[in-house]
Symmetry: C2
Amino acid sequence: MVYGYMNRILRVDLSLKRFNVQKLDENIIKNYIGGYGIAGKILYDEVPHWSSPYDPENLLIFGTGPITGTQTPTASRYVVVTKSPLSGYFGDANAGGYFGPMMKWSGFDFIVFRGISKDPVYLYVNNGNVEIRSAKDYWGMNARETERALKKDLGDNEIKVAAIGQAGENLVRYAAIMNEEAGRAAARLGVGAVMGSKKLKAVVVKGDMKIPVADPDNLKKVSNEIIKFQMEDPGVKTTRDGGTPSFMTFGWQTGDTPSYNWNDEEYGEYDVNKVAWPGEYEKILKGHRACYFCTVSCRRIMPGYSYGKYTVEDGAEGVEYETLDMFGPMTGIDDIKAIGVANELANLYGIDTISLGATIAFAMEAYEKGIIDKNITDGIDLRFGNAEAFIEMIEKIAFRKGFGNILAEGSRRAGLIIGNGAEKLSMSVKGVEIAAHDPRAFQGGSVHYAATPTGGRHMEGYTVGPEIMGVVRPDVHLISPDEIKKIGPQSLEKKALIVKRQEDFWALLNAMGMCIFTEDVPAYPNEHVYFDIFKYVTGIPLTLEEGMKAGERIFNLKKMFNVKHGATREDDRLPERLYRSPNKRAGGTVAIDSSFLEEYYEVRGWDRKSGIPTEKKLKELDLI
Amino acid sequence: MVYGYMNRILRVDLSLKRFNVQKLDENIIKNYIGGYGIAGKILYDEVPHWSSPYDPENLLIFGTGPITGTQTPTASRYVVVTKSPLSGYFGDANAGGYFGPMMKWSGFDFIVFRGISKDPVYLYVNNGNVEIRSAKDYWGMNARETERALKKDLGDNEIKVAAIGQAGENLVRYAAIMNEEAGRAAARLGVGAVMGSKKLKAVVVKGDMKIPVADPDNLKKVSNEIIKFQMEDPGVKTTRDGGTPSFMTFGWQTGDTPSYNWNDEEYGEYDVNKVAWPGEYEKILKGHRACYFCTVSCRRIMPGYSYGKYTVEDGAEGVEYETLDMFGPMTGIDDIKAIGVANELANLYGIDTISLGATIAFAMEAYEKGIIDKNITDGIDLRFGNAEAFIEMIEKIAFRKGFGNILAEGSRRAGLIIGNGAEKLSMSVKGVEIAAHDPRAFQGGSVHYAATPTGGRHMEGYTVGPEIMGVVRPDVHLISPDEIKKIGPQSLEKKALIVKRQEDFWALLNAMGMCIFTEDVPAYPNEHVYFDIFKYVTGIPLTLEEGMKAGERIFNLKKMFNVKHGATREDDRLPERLYRSPNKRAGGTVAIDSSFLEEYYEVRGWDRKSGIPTEKKLKELDLI
């Protein structure tokens, strides 16, 4: 008996409109747990290295973990895995809400799409029954309209929907997949663009199939303890009150929060108080919202309001920290209402707000520098701080109109198209725009951002927690809070190992189906609770070190996907600006020279020079 | 003073509708000569390894060689170079006619396209003047219609046009670029699909700018000698009389000409006399046609005729040998009139006839084996020999209708989409369908097909000439006609070196602007004449061994492009069938085991195991 899993993979061939069902292999469960792990293994095995992301043989895999959808706090995630059109390498994204749990209850742990449909379709899954249906009537709708129209047409408000908006349809290279009526996003690395390339408008799931749980009584007990912790812990409380933006003031003060395309005061003096919480941000805040079975409840929602010709719907999802920085300080815009509107538009069109804000900020710098002018921007005055121009560009990008057609390619490609030095202004790693945490402020980040297989990510093991916030899990990071405090964010002492352990641990949590935010807040009392939960759900006793090994395996699998698809050490590099221009708010620091990567590679058991996992390491991890 | 070159590269940015002009670098001329060489160097330097073929940063480069367009026999070629959507690696194709010479007379040696236009455009070049113009009125037209409409609208019958048909517009992955009113094709590796992805319908060139020639008197003298040879040589005469199909009977007898998706009599007993020349093939032959300044004049043309609902225009280009095999024996079709119609359609739509015939033959085998049925083929009875089904599939592929949408992906991807063993029926190397010369009949071919960077090609150095036909160039192949006759096509003695030398030599000839057919017929009296011509045109004395070194550099550059873009030794492999199923007409032989590649790698100065050029070799060739 397999506990925790529905034990079924749905395989959908969109080219020939067929599907079939597979069992989960027990070895895969043991080695790859779930989420990015199992989905990544399928991707690695089946997508040829000569494939392009929009080719029919690329896969788009929706996945869950064994904990997803069980009665465990913060285990609401689904993942999407594909070969990324932004990086050309391993692509993944994930989101909370209710889609992930419902997908499991509908009967499947994983849904693997291959092929390309000729006409728009959506997938309908109801308690194990599967249909590929026409989505002609929904093509052209935004993500919220799509979900509501499906609910109406199916006469069923219980369905959960993951859909693309117009950005995914138009192959905006950083389009997201949205669920919760455009409230949650599996945002990064262009997973929504791949969905658009397959002409798959939406995945609809519904069901009440039971997830088998090995020890429900003990699960309930430990869950209740976590809930109690989450209700009482002051850190969790702050997060609940302010949402992710509650980090903003601290981030700004420590130099972690970047501005003006990572140039800071060169282009203006940003007043972070105009957008921070508590304070001005509250102008566009109303209530709270929670994902499935989550007592952190970090989601804030907006009241309805108008801004020029734009409106925000009452109850629309609020602005997250990453979006707040990318739409605020990063572009020099300090009008919180404009930021709220831009957030609403990005969610409706279905665009990753990090890459979106960063790409427009990139264009703003090119504009300020005179590399582009109004002849290229369709007459738009694209200077930093111009909120109107920013919002107009979002629409142009979503529909690939005029200059939006260039920015829809992401900052790396846009830089190559524009030329004349613009290519140096793209603040991306592996083509993936860097999230709103400045590695010049915490040198573990310099290593992680450069080395992590999915580029400029902040949810794959960045070390803001241990390095800046003092969030230390002694048995994960192998260091005490006091000790790391002494080392500080700029010293590299023990950092290679801390980064590695953080990456492996987070890979494991994702594979389990956990929200990584549990470690970022942190919202779990300690690092051992996950293993209790895992045991009670799956019946499999997993020691922390066994779990870390599974996480390491998953991390190395992603790395090996990249190597197989042509990545070399040159891909492990931050934008030059971070190595050269000091971050004044962080104390005038720059990112540590990339030669330090060699220490990290060595800690990982990768070749020091090439950064490629050694045969020994791959054998140890059963990867060859 | 630079002789032989116009000394100008035109750079066209289709995304932002701009262009500029560059000088040719003298070092590039010296090292890479022209054609694939110089175009390949630009491609290698500028297309990032993480790029997909249809991405804006991929380049589409039209190029010529220094001899192209001079008064030299058979120097009519233009090349097109790009990252191939069929292989994912180095992609090139070339064609004769008058486009190449006219492109040079219009003022440019190379035209480099980057970016993607939002709306269909064509490029108009007239004596150095450049315009990017709307092609809205031509989008949807076939290649012949496009060229004629442009001539009419421009009121100018002197223009030369390279255009895509509907196949390129619809991203048929093996779409060709057509010139001479759909009479000539830069056909292979999907260059037309990349042109379609850029929304570039046509390139129009016109001009009477003079190519500077270093020693016109001596050039005239040697040209006259070649012309005399071409008029008198019996081999050239046969080629002039029968066109390339004059090879067919000999090819069939030696087992070089494959049939029934390389299964031969398993699916029928093909009567090659029904399509061979002299004989039945003459039913659809009328006159002759020559490319610019060519006295070989191998092009045969067809009389107008009807076949069911289809018609062939009077004077349409005849069926070449490769097409004749791919549309005839390969599909089991023996109705020469049907083959002529299919040829006409493929040319009008702009499709590579090799990949087209091979891909449909692949599907026919899948159908015969029951892997696909009428539910998948849209009701078409896709058995071997069904001419009507074959023609219908061509139309479906060009417009990506129904099952044609699957076959438009090429046999490798179609195999993956169909599954159930279909993937083993794709007779391709690196995704490129193998040309109509069976390597089981000449083992140098087993090495060349497996190793050459552009997959299943016959014009990059295959050794049918020295191994089967007795065409030996002693100073190129370093062997005498008697000696190779003794060795024979099945022994591997000296073959690694012969293959290497043939590849390097042909790379050089292409770079010069020569039609490779001069070596295949052969239509040049000996291997030294090329160097006389080169000297008289460019003023650069080049010894044969210096030229071979340049060819080797170009060949290694293409290889390194592949390595940079993720290729490994696993890509150097023939389809399993060729290693296992004997070719009876060749005497029951199979292709030599791929372990022999190691000898070839070593001769090339590549690592024996990985097949990657060693640092030493790259340094020797100034490639690093």
